[in-house]
Subunit: 413 residues, 2 copies
């Protein structure tokens, strides 16, 4: 196992109970022995579900199934394994996933169409459904409301630490509702091809279509605003479950309902927390980089420019080298293809203005910038100077180091 | 200076004379002393010009000027310096370029609007126009028809070898015409931000608009089909000059003229040769990778899928690690966003079929594939299985190694 990332948070958070959610995790021996690799979640009757999945054109069998099951809007159970992605496994992969779903449905019992599955790990290897099905009865016996950390561990692949976050939110006064989330991801990548998975659950009562409407913009500003290496997994999955088993609150019928304001904000904050943890576990990462873009044509353009900077191998290696190489930032702004006024470009690093009016500021002092580059939290701010543009965005990434190459190249299958 | 790339060709080719072109190179001390860094080309009266430039939204001053001058269709002279990109230098950069152009125009004399300039090297530093202007009289004295290799050396930055290529082409029988080309590039990138520059000249007589029409599709299939690290320079420039000073041939009035068939083919072959040399000098490169894509919706889709594979850090590190990790190729096909049939995908490495019908072939033997991965020329073939799709493309790249990180990160400004 790799050392824990130098950017990891101190410890796994204390996760409160989310009424209506019970979890279990076990070591099923899918790829390694004695490593927790299977997690089961049981949801209270009436739990609603929403989800966002990879845009890959070669999505894995579990992703295809989850998209289909989400149409019903309800969740009875979730089963996630690490060690094998069940991706690119042909018809046998579809059949394995379906057999597992039937077995989980029989276990509770619940409808097969309310069972969600994810797999992460090696790609192209047949998934041993029998091994997983055989482990289900024991898993069910150990279901508990307090197993969030083990569940987070069960979905890890090359992650160096388990990722969790919790928030409470107010919906119309009274007792706050709880939102818990776990995630895995360490780059989109790993020797065996990893993936980003995240599962969030709340005890609030929110209809499925409202849940989906709340989730999508929050994902745009969190998980869709991070990048480790620009590679997209075939299995990326983010699901949100609402059990309705928590404290009473006024009925919610629309995502635009002002009553949902605090919930929406807390959900986005939790997603951002998890997304940042994924970046902090980026393969080989030694620096956490925040890129803000302002003055763009619109927010979408701003995010594209931000991701162009955050995905640039040149920018990422410069940060790894603690080099305030702002010329590479100019390059990355230019290659994004979005409107930018070269002669108005403002670039700041660590809060220090380096360029204005399309050139380096007079008397630029690199000393404070060089000091900032030596830290582990790097801030790059760019204003692209499009006059009428109020577009802005923030994206996050990590640096590109020898560690990344070692993890991904110094390896033989 | 870095060691010569292990993928470099044996030696610089013997370049014949291109009638109507004289070249000179000198060490002008722009960034380093005693290093050839300035090259001047003089073109015969009536020389036509075509060009293709970076699509960057933050293009350098010389690129903006070249685009403008190209509207006239004629070339009198070309001046290229290395050591300073004159990019992101504000109004002072524009003025420096204009002063240099006036000085070159006075030298011969020729019209300023027929003078083309390029600069490559460090970005954001003021360009010392006086130093370059002071060097012009000596340069002019040393103009010669046999200076192609020195000219290729003068435009190098982090390149480890000079790049040249030559072809002869038949236009309507009689004595063949000559096409010579030089290029620089070593990734889009370097400690000081490098660039791709290429200059091609022929002694054929071809009108400017025909030259442009011939050049653009040839660039699509050559320089626009290579990638080292997906980063785009602010200064990328490719120019084609036709002096008309060579052997007589029938008059050319259209790019569609059958008489131009051989010329067009030889030009594309020469551009491909130069483009491959750029990849072979990719920073840290140890493997030259050819990616062919077939069965796509159209050629454009095929090239996007090919570039998605060729730009994937995952695929490139796998090749560096000599690991036939075909799962990463599946991922890269998926993330391209173009139509692909997961259940029809065929992947071959080194000619060996690894996947068919959306899964690994039965009895797949990795031994010959592993042997292929140990070589320095890697072939990846993908058929994305879109039924009606006859789209195909070939792209070229290099692997992503510790050498790349060392060149770009183990450096302080």
């Amino acid at each position: 196992m790799a050392d824990i990332s130098p950017l990891a948070p101190g410890r796994f958070p204390d996760m409160p109970v989310v009424s209506g959610v019970r979890l279990a995790a076990s070591a099923c021996g899918i790829k390694y022995q004695d490593r927790i690799d299977l997690m089961l979640a049981e949801f209270a009757h009436g739990t609603t579900a929403a989800g966002v999945f990879t845009k890959s054109m070669t999505a894995s069998a579990p992703v295809v199934i989850c998209r289909e099951h989400l149409k019903g809007g309800h969740a009875g159970a979730l089963l996630v394994n690490s060690g094998n992605a069940n991706a690119f496994t042909g018809r046998a992969g579809d059949e394995a996933a379906q057999r597992i779903i039937e077995a989980v449905a029989d276990l509770f019992p619940c409808r097969p169409s309310t069972v969600f599955v994810s797999s992460t790990g090696v790609i192209g290897e047949p998934l041993d459904a029998d091994k997983m099905i055989g482990g289900l009865p024991v898993l069910r016996e150990s279901l508990s409301e307090n197993t969030w950390e083990d569940a987070a561990k069960a979905i890890m692949t090359t992650d160096t630490f388990p990722k969790g976050a919790t928030r409470t939110a107010d919906i119309g006064g009274g007792t706050p509702v709880t939102i818990n989330g776990i995630a895995k991801g360490s780059g989109m990548i790993a020797p065996d091809m990893a993936t980003m998975l995240a599962y969030v659950a709340t005890d609030a009562a929110i209809p499925a279509e409202v849940l989906q409407a709340v989730l999508e913009p929050a994902v745009e500003r969190s998980f869709n605003s991070i990048t480790v290496d620009s590679d997209t997994s075939t299995s990326d999955t983010l699901m949100l479950f609402a059990t309705g088993a928590g404290p009473d609150h006024p009925e919610i019928t629309s995502a635009a309902d002002a009553l949902l304001g605090d919930f929406t904000a807390k959900l986005e904050d939790l997603l951002l927390d998890l997304a940042h943890q994924v970046v902090r576990d980026g393969e080989g990462a030694t620096k956490f980089i925040t890129v803000t873009v302002t003055g763009a044509e619109d927010d979408r353009a701003a995010r594209r420019i931000g991701l162009s900077i955050a995905n640039s191998p040149l920018v990422k290696t410069a940060v790894a080298g603690e080099d305030a190489n702002w010329g590479r930032i100019v390059m990355a702004v230019g290659k994004a293809g979005e409107r930018a006024d070269r002669d108005q470009l403002v670039i700041k690093i660590g809060g220090v203005t380096i360029t204005e009016d399309g050139k380096r500021v007079d008397g630029y002092d690199e000393v404070p910038v060089a000091a900032h580059m030596k830290g582990s939290e790097i801030l790059i701010e760019v204003d692209v100077g499009v006059d009428e543009g109020g577009g802005s965005a923030t994206v996050w990434t990590c640096d590109l180091t020898h560690g990344y190459i070692s993890i991904n190249a110094d390896y033989r299958s």
